[in-house]
C-alpha cells in the first residue's frame, strides 16, 4: 500500500494540471450574473436623435452583443449573428469605443444583425458592464436581470450548448 502513495500523489497532481490545461483564463466569472443590468441611455448608431436604454426592453428576453468595428473576432462572429437574427433572436449591439466612427457604414455595407446598436464611444458603459474585450454577449431576462455572459465569439457549438437551453427556459 505504502509504495503506491507517491504514484497516487502524482496522478492527483496530473489530474489537476490536465483539467487546468483545458480551462480558459479569459472566462472571467462576471459578478453581474443574477443582478440587474446596469442602466445606460446611449444614442443609437445610424438613427440620430434616438436613444436606447436597457429599461426599454423590460418584459423581453434579449441579447446584448458588445462589439466594435475595429474588432477582428467580431467580424468573424458577424455571420453567425446574422443567422440568429434571421431566426428571430433579438440581438442588441453595444458599439464599444468606436473612435473612428465606422459602425454605421460597416453595418450598412455588411448588413446588421442588430435590432438597435447603442453607441458607447467613451467606453464607460462597457466598463460599467464589466466588459474586458470584444466580443462579449450578455443574456438579459424579462425582469432586466443578466442571466449569462459569454466571452468571445458565439459559434454554433456555443450557441447550441450555452444559449439555446437558457433562452428556452427564460422564454417559458
Amino acid at each position: 500500500m505504502k509504495r503506491w502513495i507517491p504514484l497516487l500523489i502524482f496522478v492527483a497532481l496530473a489530474g489537476f494540471l490536465f483539467v487546468g490545461l483545458h480551462r480558459d483564463p479569459r472566462e472571467v466569472p462576471s459578478p453581474f450574473i443574477g443582478k440587474a443590468a446596469p442602466a445606460f441611455n446611449l444614442p443609437v448608431v445610424g438613427q440620430p436623435g434616438k436613444t436606447f436604454s436597457p429599461a426599454d426592453n423590460k418584459g423581453k428576453v434579449w441579447l446584448l452583443n458588445v462589439w466594435a468595428p475595429w474588432c477582428v473576432s467580431c467580424s468573424q462572429e458577424h455571420a453567425e449573428l446574422m443567422q440568429l437574427a434571421q431566426a428571430g433572436v433579438p440581438i442588441y449591439g453595444l458599439n464599444w469605443k468606436d473612435k473612428d466612427r465606422e459602425a454605421a457604414a460597416l453595418l450598412q455595407r455588411e448588413g446588421s444583425p442588430y435590432v438597435m446598436v447603442a453607441d458607447d464611444v467613451g467606453g464607460q458603459t462597457g466598463i460599467d458592464w464589466g466588459v474586458t474585450g470584444t466580443p462579449e454577449t450578455y443574456v438579459i431576462d424579462k425582469n432586466g436581470i443578466i442571466r449569462m455572459k459569454h466571452i468571445g465569439i458565439i459559434d454554433d457549438a456555443a450557441w447550441q450548448t450555452k444559449f439555446v437551453p437558457l433562452l428556452k427556459e427564460l422564454n417559458q
Binding site: P31, G130, T132
Partner: protein, 176 residues
Amino acid sequence: MNATSTSFPRRRESICSYKNWIPACAGMTMLVVALMSIAPARAAEAVPVGNDPVIEQRMVNLAKDLRCLVCQNETLAGSHAELAEDLRKDIRQQMKLGKSDKEVVKYLTDRYGDFVLYKPPFRSYTLLLWFGPFLFLLGGAVIWYVTLKKRRGLQPVDQVSAAALKQAADLLDKNN
C-alpha cells in the same frame, strides 16, 4: 560659506581648485549628473493626466495590487492595454470625487469581480487558498512526528547485545 569665502584669496579659478572645497565640489558635480540623468527618464514616463501628484501616487499604489483584465499577468499600474488606461482614468476620477481607496476597489470589483484583486479576499471559496499552506505545514508536522516515534522504537546502537559485538570484533580481527 560666507564665513570662509573672505579668508580665501580672490582668484579667478574654479571653486574646485581649493583644497577644502573638493568634497563639496565633487558632491555638487555628482548631484548635477544625477539630475541630468533623471530628467530624460521623467520625460519618458506616461503623461500625468491627472496633474495631481497626490492622486497620481494614490492611483499607482492602488493599481499595483490590481489585475489588468486584458493582459492578465500584468498589474493595472503597469499595463499598456487600452482598457487598463481607461480603468486608471476611472480610478483617478473616482479619487477626485473624494472616494476612499476601499470605495474605488469596490467600484472595480462590482464590475469585474474579485478577479481584479491580486490579493484574494477572505471568502468561503478562498479558505483553502489562505489556509492550504498551513495544512501542508500540519501534514509535514504529522509526518515528522510519526517518523520520530518510529525511530524511538528502533534499538539504539549502544545497546547491541554482547554476542553481536563479539561477532563484529571477530570479523574485524579476521580481516586484519
